[in-house]
Symmetry: C2
Subunit: 144 residues, 2 copies
DNA sequence: GTGGTTTTGCAACATAGTAGCATTTGCGCC
DNA sequence: GGCGCAAATGCTACTATGTTGCAAAACCAC
């Protein structure tokens, strides 16, 4: 299975960033691309294990860091102390996140960055705004 | 110095929440009240030590948790994995934070919660919005 | 295939936060 | 003022998350 000339979306993304296409990288990126929510290092590691992909905790950290540095993925700090990762689908980091306070799930909400025309006190230079919405996701909200 | 009938702001706040007025609690709360920025557990611990107030790491965690639960202080997760604490001066948690990407300092920006009239995809129930602005603080911005 | 660089895997370390339990302390009550 | 009891503290040990250094392995250009 090496004569393929067809590259998967994950493989294309990786080569486009000038990185080597490795088992772990492809698998991690595919997991992130397939996920409808932000995943923790742990969840990704579990998914890898389920696919029978042997890997090291450290490798995964480094892979994720590389994806973030390359601008392919993005990292966000949650209320628990675990960082969550997701694919930065379109454009810059200008997208909001929705954090379900019941199941703890974090989803990316693309294209709804609001008018954050805040009037900052003097001297502050605004670079980018990060918006996290808290509430209940569709799944948890139904039960209420 | 125990015949005082006058209570400090910190002491009043503590008793108002039905908690006991202890050395550590008063000191921590006074530190938070005096701070112009959000502080990490570590920074607060250092400040306590400077005041010669003996304390335990665990006690500080518990004190801070209590303050947050009582609604006196608020907790926020930063990009580093340390939680930062600040006094929730006015009203609910409806205030934004400014994170200086150069010195890492986090300040609370009261009264500038923007119109987060975001149109959520179907099914999401918005509870509260958390806004974190990134950029340079006045001090760091000057040097640029 | 060969060579050189990137990436991985391992082991050890670092930091942030938590749990259980005995001791101390604040504070209401007498 | 002293007593008792619940709340708070301090200790030790532990968990979880993330990092560093280095040797071995894997990628990929040639």
């Amino acid at each position: 299975m090496s004569t393929h000339t067809h590259l998967s979306a994950a493989e294309s993304l990786i080569t486009a960033q000038g990185g080597r296409v490795t088992r772990t990288r492809v698998a991690v990126l595919e997991i992130l691309l397939a996920a409808d929510q932000s995943l923790t290092h742990d969840e990704i590691g579990l998914a890898l294990a389920e696919q029978g992909i042997k890997h090291d905790r450290v490798t995964l950290y480094r892979t994720l860091d590389w994806l973030v540095e390359s601008g392919v993925a993005h990292k966000m700090a949650g209320d628990d102390r675990a960082r969550r990762f997701g694919v930065a689908a379109s454009g810059p980091h200008e997208h909001a996140h929705f954090h379900c306070d019941r199941c703890g799930k974090v989803v990316c909400l693309e294209g709804l960055q609001p008018a954050v025309a805040v009037n900052l006190p003097g001297g502050y230079q605004l670079d980018r705004a990060e918006l996290v919405l808290h509430g209940a996701c569709p799944t948890c909200g139904k039960g209420a």
